[in-house]
């Protein structure tokens, strides 16, 4: 397919305005909706933008002050570390579980595969708001089904247990929701990659005496490694910017300061405390982190495009 994409353009050899005209609307929308905000964030991140500026005073230039504060302020630095840890743990969990589910889908009977596929799609299609709401209900302190089940299993301590009030179990629930929602994408993508693994090849390896683990590591893994690398990277990028799930779970009465991640921290700084300079600096920090994380991915794609 890539060759047709690159082969077709040869019919437009002379410089022609058409492609530029075709790009104008998309570029305009991107410039307006994302380009200008990025520019504004960069400029603002170097400014002192506080309450006085809300009342019309022009903001002063502050150099790197806002950035310095991210790393010198203990609370801000804690948010950074917490976000990175949360991101890495969830991305790793999601990809590992997704890979396990994809391999499982390959190993089971045809109808079971379809059942697994459908339940994955159900979770994938559920909107964030509905997903967080139903998990709040599942883990509700008084009437949630999880506490009831744990009490039935003999863990009396869970009667009326509030899951969202302490940071550790708060993040446990948040991870549960995020993993539940993101495993389907990973599992189905990897499964699509796995369909490329030729059954005859596996059968041949089996006849030659390879055991399951050897087949997995020497035949299947090298073939799905490109897909695996990409879904891992996408998960890291997505999990770094978790906002809605945390915000919606905090509604249930969690300690906000101890459960904020980067996105929520930006929201608090900007919307609640009107510290636009600080919020912008944290935003730019997140953007840079995203670019650093995704650079290898983009580079490898460009290499592929060139070949």
């Amino acid at each position: 397919m890539a060759t047709t994409a690159l082969g077709a353009p040869t019919r437009q050899r002379r410089r022609h305005p058409t492609p530029y005209l075709l790009l104008i609307p998309a570029v305009a929308a991107l410039a307006l909706g994302l380009g200008y905000p990025v520019y504004w964030q960069i400029v603002t991140s170097f400014q002192r933008f506080g309450l006085a500026q809300q009342f019309g005073q022009p903001p002063e230039f502050a150099g790197l002050e806002n950035y310095a504060r991210i790393f010198s302020d203990d609370a801000a630095f804690a948010v950074v570390l917490r976000s990175i840890a949360f991101c890495l743990v969830n991305a790793a969990l999601t990809v590992l579980i997704g890979l396990a589910v994809a391999l499982l889908m390959r190993a089971v009977h045809g109808w079971v595969k379809i059942v697994v596929q459908i339940s994955m799609l159900l979770a994938w299609a559920t909107p964030v708001i509905a997903a967080v709401t139903v998990f709040r209900w599942l883990f509700d302190a008084r009437t949630g089904v999880v506490n009831w089940l744990l009490v039935q299993l003999g863990f009396e301590g869970f009667r009326g247990h509030g899951w969202l009030t302490t940071p550790i179990s708060f993040f446990f629930i948040a991870s549960l929701i995020i993993v539940w929602m993101s495993v389907p994408f990973v599992a189905l993508s990897l499964f699509a990659g796995l369909t490329q693994v030729n059954d005859e090849l596996l059968e041949a390896a089996r006849i030659d005496g390879a055991n399951g683990r050897q087949i997995l590591w020497s035949i299947i893994m090298p073939l799905v490694r490109p897909v695996l690398a990409i879904v891992l990277l996408l998960q890291i990028i997505w999990d770094l910017r978790v906002f809605a799930q945390i915000r919606l779970l905090q509604d249930a009465g969690a300690p906000v300061a101890e459960t904020n991640l980067l996105g929520n921290f930006i929201y608090e700084l900007g919307m609640a405390r009107n510290n636009f300079g600080g919020a912008a600096a944290v935003s730019i920090f997140v953007l840079l982190l995203t670019i650093v994380l995704s650079a290898p991915y983009v580079r490898s794609l460009m290499k592929e495009d060139a070949s």
Partner: protein, 303 residues
């Protein structure tokens, strides 16, 4: 490296032979055990959705009972009725969500389609930088930009406004849809159009009669993708729609929960509301997921 072409799995080589028989039968047992595990995974993943829909049809009094009911023995529509007839604000939010998603889908489809056409049918200076830019923009986290977007809308007087939010959604969704459509456009060989032009059609005619119909599935898939993104979006809506009267369904549901929180959340009604928001999306998604997934994977894998 196409993960898209789902080649029909090659047929298993059935080699009958006495020495291999015992291993085949342990593998058969293994397959049953794994299938059982597969069913457990399926139940675990589907359970939250099942629980949401079941609770929506359960009378609230039963939901408060100490023993949960796992089967719909006393199904009732009363939660839905109260939600849809009362002044819960559902209809206002639905109208808002529908306006924003419709406008977003239209803008995204037109803009992204033209863009995809440009990059997959033309060779031009800056094509590669554009593709690179789209790739990077795709990764910009909305969570890093919403303060600026809020300031922008507020200075343009577009807070609590359908157009304001739709433009932000369009910008957020376009990179990926260009990506997806690019694959679909490239999948239609330009030779088909050229052949039609040899037969006497103009380029535009050839495009409309030959290429466009072949692209319809791609356009539908991209449109649905844009719809799902806009319908489910929470973060941008939270900052761009601060008013009480202009809320999308996700914002409205959040407000609905916190409004009832003080007197103990009415979970039956909350689950009914969640079901109303989620079920159309789920149905939509199940219908087009095949195409969307291959678009997603080709976008992610092929570049």
């Amino acid at each position: 490296m196409t993960a898209v072409t789902t080649a029909a799995p090659a047929r298993k080589v059935v080699t009958a032979g006495a020495p291999r028989r015992p291993r085949v039968s342990t593998r058969r047992v293994g397959k049953w055990l794994l299938s059982l595990l597969g069913l457990v995974v399926a139940v675990a993943w589907a359970f939250p959705v099942y629980w949401m829909i079941l609770s929506a049809f359960t009378p609230n009094a039963r939901l408060r009972a100490t023993t949960p009911q796992f089967l719909p023995t006393h199904a009732t529509l009363s939660s839905f009725q109260r939600l849809l007839s009362g002044d819960s604000g559902f209809w206002t939010a639905l109208r808002m969500s529908l306006s924003i998603t419709t406008l977003t889908v239209v803008l995204v489809l037109v803009f992204a389609f033209l863009g995809a056409l440009a990059i997959s049918r033309f060779k031009f200076r800056g094509r590669k930088s554009f593709i690179l830019a789209v790739l990077f923009i795709q990764m910009l986290p909305a969570e890093g930009l919403f303060i600026a977007q809020y300031k922008m809308l507020s200075s343009a007087g577009l807070l609590n406004n359908v157009l304001g939010v739709s433009v932000l959604y369009t910008a957020a969704v376009i990179p990926f849809t260009i990506w997806m459509l690019r694959g679909f456009v490239a999948g239609v060989p330009a030779e088909l159009e050229e052949a039609a032009m040899v037969d006497g059609l103009s380029r535009t005619q050839a495009f409309i009669r030959i290429t466009l119909p072949l692209l319809a599935p791609g356009l539908v898939a991209s449109g649905v993708y844009a719809f799902l993104q806009a319908w489910n979006e929470f973060t941008i809506a939270l900052v761009a729609l601060p008013g009480q009267s202009a809320q999308t369904l996700p914002l409205w549901l959040r407000g609905f929960i916190s409004a009832s929180a003080s007197r103990g959340i009415d979970w039956a009604q909350v689950m009914a509301a969640s079901t109303l928001i989620a079920v159309p999306v789920i149905i939509f998604f199940l219908f087009v997921q095949g195409r969307m997934t291959s678009g997603l994977v080709s976008g992610a894998v092929k570049g």
